[in-house]
Amino acid sequence: MPDLYASVSSLDRLNLLNGSFRDSSFGFFVTDESGLLQYLNDEAARIFGFDSINEALEYSIHDFEMNVNCGLSEVFDTILKGKSYQKNEHRCTNRLGHYAVLNISLSPFRGEAGGVSGIVGTILDVTESYRKKVMLEEANHVLSVISQVSEALTSAAELNDVLRIILTGVTANQGLGFNRAFLLLINEKKNILEGKIAIGPGSPDEAHEIWSNLAGRHRTLLELLDDYRESKRNSGSSVSSGIEEWKIPLDKANFFVDALESGSGIIVDHSDELSLESVNILNYLQTESLAVVPIISKDRKLGIIVADNKITGKQITETRVELLQIFANNSATAIEHSRLYNKVLERARELEKINRQLADSQEQVIRAEKMSVIGELTSSIAHELRNPLMVIGGFANLMISSGDAGDNAEYLNIILSETQRSESVLHQVLDFSRASRTSNREIEFNTLAKDAYDYFRSKTKFKQNGFSLSLSEKSTKVWGNPDQLLHVLLQFMHLTAEGMTDECKAKIATFQKDRTVRLTIEFTGSRQARDNAAKMYDRIFGSPNGTQRLSLIVAGETIKYHGGNYGVENSAGGGPTLYIELPALGVSKR
């Protein structure tokens, strides 16, 4: 053994070192010029991985440098030449393979003559403080990510936008840094997890393209999140395509269910013992390992976030899963808020719709009241006119028939003829205004059509054989005033009968389709007959005479009041068809 301190005995040197460093909290060692340990305290022995100091004294530090790998061998000669060496937070393993983080300081050890006779080193085990520091940095990073994501979420209310921002935070390099992320939400009614959104490259090539693009732009996480639509473009199409078709039953054993039930994140690896369902999921995602964290808000399970490092193959650590879980917990609130926002929005839309319906109803009530008032008024006027007209015409008739008219016979005939024309107009007005007094109610339109048809046939002797009736087999319920609608049907039947020729046939039919109840009067028969009928309708609807005009105005207003429509169209058979449409009850806005 070389003489380190020539003037001091070995025992004295040992005693001196022991007195100074034996119980020190840091490791202390001294080697000779070859690296052979001359002295080390208990802490240094522990750090290097020796059971005792005596065991260590038989070794050169070059013997276990391979394990410790603190660069000591490389710098050894430099230190012997008089230079010092320091390395902090050096992560290594000792001879026994134990992980440690060390602060190492090496200096030349000088002998009595002033020459370097070896090296002296101090090593401080900072593993625990380093671990805490790393954790603190991680926590700080996550807090920063959460803070930035939260800030970005304040500008998003739609669920899809919220989900995209969350996954951008999970996958962005400035965020949690996973390669790919998937978000699935629980459909409580169907008891399944439904895929909602996925972000990440589908292949290494795609990853290279996306990540190069992002790296070149040097954007902060907040900038990236602010433009969450950007992340849609940066997401590989292959990973996001089909995500919405992804349905995972919650009643079958798989790691998604495990994560939801346990309430905490898990790492799933292909080498684990997995259920068939779980293996299928891994195969579907084409990944070996992934992290699954539940999204839970106030004990309510909302869904899961799945993340992996398929492209880089970077190992998913427990710490990363814990961070992802913290992130998921914060995301849960945003998802709940978004859902509430959507509910409020939906409710607002419903209220808007109800308000519109209310306004429509009010308009209808006002219209009905107006119709009622107009009906009463016209009824009074018409009734007051009807009797005098009848008396005037009646006496004129009496004078003509008595044979006393003499030279005035022509004038009396004019009085009679004009009186009868006026009576015809009043006849309609009176019938309609009388009908206005009936209240609105549910009406089976088939029954109404049948009543109108029977009445029409009983009163219209001429050409009635040309008419036929075919009723819909479906229910034809409408809402309205039965007397008014009966009046309308009779008016149209009478108008049609006016244009009938002997060759004509008119088929009256009812239908119910979608939201409409329809009555049609279709002309059939020879081509000539159909042409004549078309001309007749052109005349009536184009330039009606006084009585027809009144009929059309009254009938048209009545149909409009009932929310319906009428007109003439060409049927498949080529004949003109008069139609009346009314909203079917139960499917209309009523």
Partner: protein, 126 residues
């Protein structure tokens, strides 16, 4: 002679019917009140009643039942400016329904038709 009771609140309508039907050989009594009509029915035993529906004091349809109870064999002709009452089931108790018109022939024809058997009986006695 066939006795006709006309119930109508319009004085000139009553006058028209009186002149017209008297000229056709009927004996006509008229009133504006359906209640007064009941007294006339009891006293004069009309062969036919011509009844307006919308009367000032009341609705003619309400009285059909009473008239029918008083003299079930006497036919009633409802005579209204409205045709819509035809669909009122109470109007079905009447033997006929004629809408008021300056063409009064349909009313005369209906009266003649409904009183035909009595007229024939009276003519046979002559």
């Amino acid at each position: 002679m066939i006795k006709v009771l006309v119930i109508d609140d319009e004085v000139y309508v009553r006058r028209l019917y009186e002149d017209l039907l008297t000229g056709k050989g009927f004996e006509v009594t008229s009133t504006a009140s359906p209640k007064e009509a009941l007294d006339i029915i009891r006293k004069q035993k009309p062969d036919i009643i011509v009844l307006d529906i919308e009367l000032d004091s009341d609705n003619g349809l309400k009285f059909i039942e009473k008239y029918k109870a008083e003299c079930p064999d006497v036919p009633i002709i409802l005579n209204s400016a409205y045709s819509i009452y035809m669909s009122d089931f109470k109007s079905w108790m009447a033997e006929a329904y004629i809408v008021k018109s300056s063409d009064i022939q349909p009313l005369v024809d209906k009266i003649t038709e409904l009183t035909g058997s009595k007229r024939e009986y009276e003519q046979s006695r002559k």
